[in-house]
């Protein structure tokens, strides 16, 4: 603790009217001025702005302030900003404290008097706390220049290529046998209608052959330890039962394999073999054996693939392999799952023929799909009328309340493809048309001229119960046309359900693995919804693509590139600052009871057998404070969260 007199400056932010509209700023200023050790209390319309920061910096120099309190927004938003301002004026950043009088005060009550009271309590707490705060030195650690990308969809592919093109090593881990993700299943992409494969497969090939990318397909991340700049990751490479070095990708095994199962890639509308590559353009072009369906694994007989493989690549003895990699940052791009509409029984999915999901239609209309791009009904005939139902599982209180953001646009794309290929009559059953991206509104306008019927109304049911002769043998789509104010019954040959984009089924486990929070919709939570939709609350872990929320391809690619830029920025600087607020043991006080040793979740505490005291490894310590609270001898100090500081703050809020 410094001997010299503590001189605190208090700065109150109006945040426009966000704070000043509720809290009486003048009153708060007068209150702050009278608090012990406060030398100056000022207010300004936006403390975070350049003039606001300059005010603090000048006062630090002129008034010899050695502590600063800013009463403004949440420290999550601007703690770094103000700490930096202090540092620039020569004050240790840990001598700054922020009072949150916006998110937790002015925004949650309309009662001005009570808000002002609460603001006073929060400012008094910050002033009392800052009095005891001590300068801390931030430590710098070197950054491992390797990057891990988890998920090989378009987001992961983009992020991996961006980092690798800067000649930094990337590990790209993909759980399925091939990279490509959902984008590889799409036919054309809106609004330009360029073919998805034509723009994606060259990128996939690049990934597969890139000297700076180590591609690990059919692999999953099992464990992540370490911290920003220095993560250790265990990856399970699942046994393919095919020797990657020997396999030539000739495909004979797949033709000879006698067992067929529903193809995941074809959304279940056609079959694949028990030994398979998901699709012909797969990267890597090396098959895997699906042990759940392979006759050899089930019954111990067959081995047809082995018999016909000229390269001798089939290896039934192969085992899962655990690979350990060390990386500086992680980019999580684990994508989405499509909503299963079976629970919406009144839409008839899986009960009525020719009620299909959008992903199934995507495969049906694709030139590389099972029908070669012919839009056909289950009986092989060509539909004459098709209804496209928007918002199936999205914007629905019963399933997902959010908008899936891509369905309106791909539904429009479907109209065009249907018109172009078979000229059938198309009905768009929508709630609102949301065509907000670049060129999207123009696409909507263009489609509206292609004699597509737009009916505004959520569909009530899809049924095969005919009332009139016209309806016999048809799928009857019943809806209220909310613009015409009447009930419509449309006899259709095919119904396409535009299903919601939802979080992956194992999103919870993945969130825990990487220590990422989730938002209310279940997707990964970004650090800030506007200013930092790339970082997470865990330093060094970034997110991109649909795992953070539904988005289209341009947004996904932009976010993935941004995540790559963040990883590259860390690499280019070569070091990062890590938490200075760690725990410290006073060896004089330590009784050597070792209670803390087992409590530490990061194994940062070790026991010195000679001196019979515990020691904390500051690089491993993350400053949670669990040992501090547990130490019966009060021998452990949680720096920046000392008992003295916390108690002072508690006393402060109780003024």
């Amino acid at each position: 603790m410094e001997d010299k007199e503590v001189r605190i400056g208090v700065y109150i932010c109006h945040c426009g009217s966000n704070i000043a509209g509720t809290v009486d700023i003048e009153e708060l200023g007068r209150f702050a001025q009278k608090l012990p050790s406060v030398v100056v209390a000022k207010d300004y319309v936006y403390m975070c702005s350049e003039p606001g920061q300059s005010m603090i910096k000048e006062d630090i120099k002129k008034l010899k302030l050695n502590r600063v309190v800013v009463a403004s927004c949440s420290p999550t938003l601007h703690e770094t900003t103000f700490r930096r301002a202090c540092q620039e004026a020569g004050l240790n950043p840990y001598l700054f404290e922020q009072a949150n009088i916006r998110e937790q005060c002015s925004w949650v009550t309309e009662d001005g008097a009570m808000a002002t009271d609460k603001a006073k309590a929060l400012v008094s707490a910050a002033v009392r706390r800052v009095y005891y705060q001590q300068p801390l030195e931030t430590k710098e650690v070197t950054v491992n220049p390797n990057t891990l990308v988890v998920g090989g969809g378009i987001a992961g592919i983009q992020a991996a290529l961006e980092v690798a093109d800067a000649h930094h090593h990337v590990y790209l881990v993909e759980r399925t046998p091939s990279i490509g993700g959902h984008m590889s299943q799409l036919d054309k992409t809106f609004p330009t209608l360029d073919c998805s494969s034509c723009i994606l497969t060259p990128k996939m090939t690049l990934v597969g052959s890139h000297p700076y990318i180590e591609l690990m397909t059919y692999s999953e991340v099992e464990e992540v330890t370490g911290y920003i700049g220095n993560f250790k990751v265990k990856v399970r490479k699942k046994a393919r039962y095919v020797d990657e070095d020997k396999c030539t990708g000739c495909g004979v095994c797949q033709t000879k394999c006698p067992y067929k199962v529903d193809s995941e890639f074809e959304a279940g509308i056609s079959k694949r073999k028990a030994i398979y590559t998901p699709f012909p353009q797969a990267v890597p072009n090396i098959p895997v054996i699906d042990t759940k369906h392979c006759a050899y694994f089930l019954k111990g007989k067959c081995r047809a693939c082995e018999k016909f493989c000229e390269a001798g690549a089939i290896d039934f003895q192969q085992q899962d392999e655990i690979v350990e990699v060390e990386v500086g940052s992680v980019i999580v791009t684990t994508g989405f799952n499509t909503f299963d509409p079976t629970p919406i029984y009144h839409y008839g999915y899986k009960q009525l023929d020719n009620v299909i999901t959008s992903l199934e239609f995507e495969r049906l209309v694709s030139a590389s799909g099972p029908t070669g791009g012919n839009i056909v009904l289950k009986d092989g005939s060509t539909p004459k009328s098709i209804a496209i139902l928007h918002c199936v599982g999205s914007r629905d209180e019963n399933y997902h309340r959010y908008c899936s953001r891509v369905c309106c646009m791909y539904a429009l794309k479907y109209s065009h493809l249907i018109k172009e290929k078979i000229g059938a009559e198309v009905y768009q059953m929508y709630i609102d048309m949301r065509c907000f991206g670049k060129g999207y509104e123009e696409f909507y306008k263009r489609l509206a001229e292609e004699e597509v019927n737009f009916i505004r109304g959520k569909v009530a049911e899809v049924t095969d119960r005919a009332i009139t002769d016209d309806e016999k043998g048809k799928l009857v789509v019943v809806a209220e046309d909310t613009l015409m104010l009447n009930i419509v019954r449309l006899p259709m040959d095919m119904v396409i359900l535009c299903v919601a984009l939802e979080p992956q089924p194992d999103v919870e486990a993945v969130a825990r693995l990487f220590n990422i929070s989730r938002s209310a919709d279940g997707f990964f939570l970004e650090r800030h919804p506007k200013l930092d939709p790339i970082a997470t609350m865990t330093d060094g872990i970034f997110v991109a693509g649909c795992c953070q929320g539904p988005k289209d391809i341009p947004d996904t690619v932009a976010q993935a590139s941004a995540a790559a830029a963040r990883a590259l920025a860390m690499i280019s600087r070569g070091k990062v600052e890590i938490e200075a607020a760690t725990a410290e043991i006073n060896e004089e006080l330590c009784s050597g009871c070792r209670v803390c040793n087992n409590l530490c979740p990061f194994s940062a505490i070790t026991f010195d057998e000679d001196k019979k005291v515990s020691r904390i490894n500051e690089v491993l310590c993350k400053g949670c404070g669990v040992c501090v609270a547990a130490c019966a001898s009060s021998a452990i100090t949680g720096k920046h969260f000392t008992t003295e500081q916390i108690v002072a703050e508690i006393e402060g809020v109780l003024v």
Binding site: V108, D117, L525, P601
Partner: protein, 139 residues
């Protein structure tokens, strides 16, 4: 003048503090009676902090952290739970009403939940009246 309870909130910075921020960002209105002290993890909360708060003028104390399994520090919240149960036993013996000291799990996305808990707790503590300090009648 009606009694306005003072409640000290001890919130972990990763989940519950972010949840409390979210309540604000979504302009959720709730009783302004809770005053928040931010800690890195509820695992840092010493039982004495709760006693100190009650001693220094709090009518209630709310400890809030990440849901079990979601702790940023793996299992700090489990340790909090263990300590909390012991603390509650002691508080009960000291005659401190159950509603005055609460442990809740609030995630970063549960702004609504935070607002609901604070509202509920404020009303319960309001009914109980001010916390009798200095040993109540013996003071």
């Amino acid at each position: 003048m009606s009694f306005e309870p003072k409640i000290v909130g001890l919130l972990c910075r990763w989940c519950s503090y972010a949840g409390a921020d979210l309540a604000g960002t979504s302009r959720k209105k709730y009783a302004p009676n809770v005053r928040v002290v931010r800690v890195m993890c509820t695992g840092r909360v010493e039982p004495t902090f709760v006693l100190k708060a009650l001693e220094k003028g709090a009518d209630g104390v709310l400890i809030a952290g990440c849901h079990p399994g979601d702790c940023h520090y793996v299992e700090g919240n489990y340790k909090t739970l263990r300590r909390f149960l012991l603390l509650k036993k002691m508080l009960t013996q000291m005659g401190v009403e159950d509603e005055r000291v609460r442990l809740e799990w609030v995630s970063a996305s549960e702004g609504d939940r935070f607002a609901t808990i604070v509202g509920e707790m404020t009303e319960q503590v309001r009914k109980l009246g001010p916390f009798p300090r200095n040993g109540g009648n013996n003071g």
